[in-house]
Amino acid sequence: MFGKKKNERVIDDWQGLQDVLIGDLDAEETGSGALQFTVEWKSEKRKRNVTVAYAPVGELGQIAYITAPIIESPRDAQVREAMEEAAKFLEGGVVFADGALSLRSSLPFQGMSRTAIIRVIRQVSANADVLAASFEEDEE
């Protein structure tokens, strides 16, 4: 059920994850040790900045913090709506980080395949973009 494709690269540490983010997603260092890149949906003419930071967390192991902003200066109702909508997603919950209401997934990535990690990153960024688009429509 959980078989991995042959030759699928497995990521074991932050260095390995950085290699994937820089090599596959054109990530750049933020200066604070995290990496930042843009996930783009060209057909829909939308894109979202994503930041991936790292920290070891006790027995949980190595955690990648995948954060995609939703909206800056949110109203109370938007904070509530984001938290309610996040409950429908497979991954991600709401935090307020770097001045923006954001969707974040704390992913224990050690032993995960490159493909699986990229899938989580794309899913979190897509989920954040769905919320962002919804709020943009409300403003129009």
Binding site: V79, M83, A86, A87, V94, F96, L101, L107
Partner: protein, 121 residues
């Protein structure tokens, strides 16, 4: 590592005290705070399954949600969802490759964080 969700939920109910459990979920009683565990499957890839962990903080209409979201940002897990009108700490762990010890630790940590954020209110 768990070979299936059935193995995972069996481990959870053997390891933690539960008030209520089924083949798809368990409501756990922990020292710090209660927690709920259930499974989720990707609609895009049915082979990709996650274990959802959530621990309640407070009724959503009785707290400053933005303040909680800012406070949670500093915690190791820390992301918030509203379930049944209650703010929860939430974490999703991919089931593939998940070690039982790591799952146990994540459940305890979610409960501890929810308890800590409850004090922020």
């Amino acid at each position: 590592m768990f070979a299936s969700w059935d193995e995972c939920i069996a481990h959870i109910t053997e390891t933690f005290e539960s008030d209520d459990s089924s083949s798809i979920h368990a409501r756990l009683r922990l020292e710090a705070n209660p927690a709920m565990v259930w499974n989720g499957t990707s609609t895009a890839d049915p082979n990709y399954m996650v274990v959802h962990i959530a621990s309640p903080i407070a009724p959503a209409d009785q707290v400053d949600l933005l303040h909680l979201a800012a406070a949670s940002e500093d915690l190791p897990l820390g992301a918030l969802r509203i379930l049944n009108n209650t703010v929860h700490i939430h974490q999703a762990l991919p089931l593939a490759g998940l070690e039982p010890e790591r799952l146990d630790q994540a459940i305890r940590l979610a409960a501890t964080e929810a308890h800590a954020l409850g004090k922020e209110i």
